[in-house]
Subunit: 210 residues, 2 copies
């Protein structure tokens, strides 16, 4: 039997999120032929300002969030405060644990780690903020050289633009290579299909120079 | 004397804009160390819904827009209606003509063409909607195979993800290669630096198969 249900992709916005961390993956899911529905959460419903200045609109407050299928937690400078907000991390830990997949882009993996959602999992993060991410999750098996890391139901990508490649890989995993290829071609994205493609680890001293 | 002023990057949102067309370039400008200030316009101030569903917030209405330095017009399904809106195209023609640079991503070049802003210029567009873009501008020298086209003060990119490469090239042009390289590395983007890199033209019958 085909799995023809539409999945809810729920993005967790917060003040100081990184715009491309959110809208790279949402472009991929959003053009995938109605297979995904996109919802954005915020501290409350309404505008949430990004690290770059522009604001996006959260349709639903964290506390009112419906059960998600795919959770997307972006990075951005706002993560530094977020990991110290116990009310938030406790909510995230409980709410996201019910999802089919919990994903992050960039320093979003630090947020997942602080909520305990990556304990016992392999994960990666932004290469310029890798030490910070590590500090958030001593029980995480951090992978310094990876475009993204998929470990069971936890998928974490490296910095910013890497989220696009991870989202395509997740679409391929769920819906097949044909759809993912069509999306990559349609949005004219040079898809890095290998999760271990990562020239940025070496540039940041996290892997030997090639 | 150094050109140390901060440039206003003004994005023209409309119902049905493509999210990555906007937030790819705004990521690049937004992390460029305070050299650019980002403003988003809409039909009126407030939320503007994207083609993918999520909404972004326009701070200023079209009619109240201050003089821009860099104009960014995204693509998306909403462009199809926009090119028939004479009130809009007349406003855009007059307002954008005062900018230092007028740029577009994807089918945004069709909007610029409909407003007469590309007449006598070389330009490119999304490879899947190239015929539509052509129809908007009979006086434009359309270039089918290009990641982006820069012709004096008009810079137009190919589809969706191509806007990131064009924005990096524009930062390099204005602020130097060193800053553009640092941004590309920082956001872990595999920057296509050559404006004639375009495998998607051949995939859409706009260039010979390689």
């Amino acid at each position: 039997m085909e799995d023809a249900r539409r999945r809810e992709v729920t993005t967790v916005l917060f003040e100081g999120f990184e715009v491309l961390d959110v809208f790279g993956p949402l472009e991929v899911f959003g053009v995938a032929g109605q297979r995904f529905n996109l919802t954005m959460l915020g501290p409350k419903a309404g505008p949430v300002q990004s690290a770059q200045g522009p604001a996006a609109v959260a349709e639903v407050a964290y506390r009112d969030a419906p059960r998600p299928d795919i959770v997307l937690v972006p990075g951005g400078i706002g993560t530094r405060r977020l990991v110290t907000d116990v009310t938030f991390t406790e909510w995230l830990a409980e709410w996201a644990a019910r999802a089919e997949f919990v994903t992050s882009v960039c320093t979003g993996s630090g947020v997942l780690a602080a909520a305990g959602l990556l304990s016992g999992y392999r994960a990666t993060s932004n290469k310029r903020a890798f030490a910070w991410a590590r500090e958030q999750g001593p029980l995480v098996d951090w992978v310094p050289q990876a475009r993204w890391v998929e470990d069971r139901d936890r998928w974490t990508s490296s910095g910013v633009a890497a989220g696009i490649d991870m989202a395509l890989a997740l679409v391929a995993h769920l819906e097949g290579d044909e759809l993912a290829d069509a999306i990559a071609d349609g949005v004219e994205h040079d898809w890095h299909r290998e999760s271990n493609w990562d020239p940025f680890a070496a540039k940041n001293g996290l892997a030997p120079e090639p």
